[in-house]
Amino acid sequence: MRAAVIQFPGSNCDRDMAVAIRDVMGADTSLVWHRASELPQGLDLIAIPGGFSYGDYLRSGAMAARSPVMQAVVEAAGRGVPVLGVCNGFQILTEAGLLPGALMRNAGIRFVCRKVTLKVENNQSIFTGGYDSGEEISIPVAHHDGNYFADDATLNQLEGEGRVAFRYAEPVNGSSRNIAGIINDAGNVLGMMPHPERMIEAVHGGSDGRRLFEGLIREIA
């Protein structure tokens, strides 16, 4: 199994993501710099990590979404390669047009950094097969721009097609319909604000994030 974690200037969860993928999934995981125009061959998973790519200039994720490597990521996603974007990675995926909607400033203006309870809305995706549908899990968030926005038609479509993967059990950042993570229409791209890679082993305070990666192994191995 081969995985790549994309690094932008200002990424800061890249190493945690790589360690999670390597340790939990046993994947041969490489870090790929944003200037690369090509990805390693034969990838089974691409992860876009959290952080503050390009200092959040213009809009969170806006600059990273236009960097050379993202053209290769968009192309790979089009071929069906699974893509996981966490936090800034979710912002980048929406800015790149791989996921609908946008992540706006938190409704309360403040940066939110704490463990939150998520409800698994759909365990039928390649990313959520390690969970039970409707299960509540605990995963930390750490973001300033996690307020998911999309128009009503898009939100209805996401919900109607079972593409809301995770929902906050209670309001965290003003997100439309408490959405914490969504999946693209082809089912191979997940963007989520909470950080599963920060809940991998007991020393992290829990291991609910680990099951996302364990579920992925079964789906893509």
Partner: protein, 76 residues
């Protein structure tokens, strides 16, 4: 040549920053303010032969996120 691009949130998109600014203005004792919406001004210095179509493409491809924002182009 200089072009100014104004990027603003679309109507109906909640603006938490504008709301906070509004509250701050009220805190400073300014009354009669109904609403505040925050946007962004981008100034572009360019050759005179850069077309309006190119400027519009710059806006829709990068300067504004068309999901949540509108842009207006002002040329001096």
């Amino acid at each position: 040549m200089k072009t100014r691009v104004f990027v603003t949130l679309k109507n109906g998109v909640l603006d938490p920053q504008g709301k906070a600014i509004h509250h701050a203005l009220e805190g400073l004792g300014f009354s009669g303010v109904h609403d505040v919406r925050a946007g962004r001004l981008i100034e572009i210095e360019h050759e005179p032969d850069v077309s309006k179509a190119d400027l519009e493409a710059m806006c829709s491809k990068l300067l504004a996120n068309m999901v949540i924002e509108n842009f207006e182009i002002e040329q001096a």
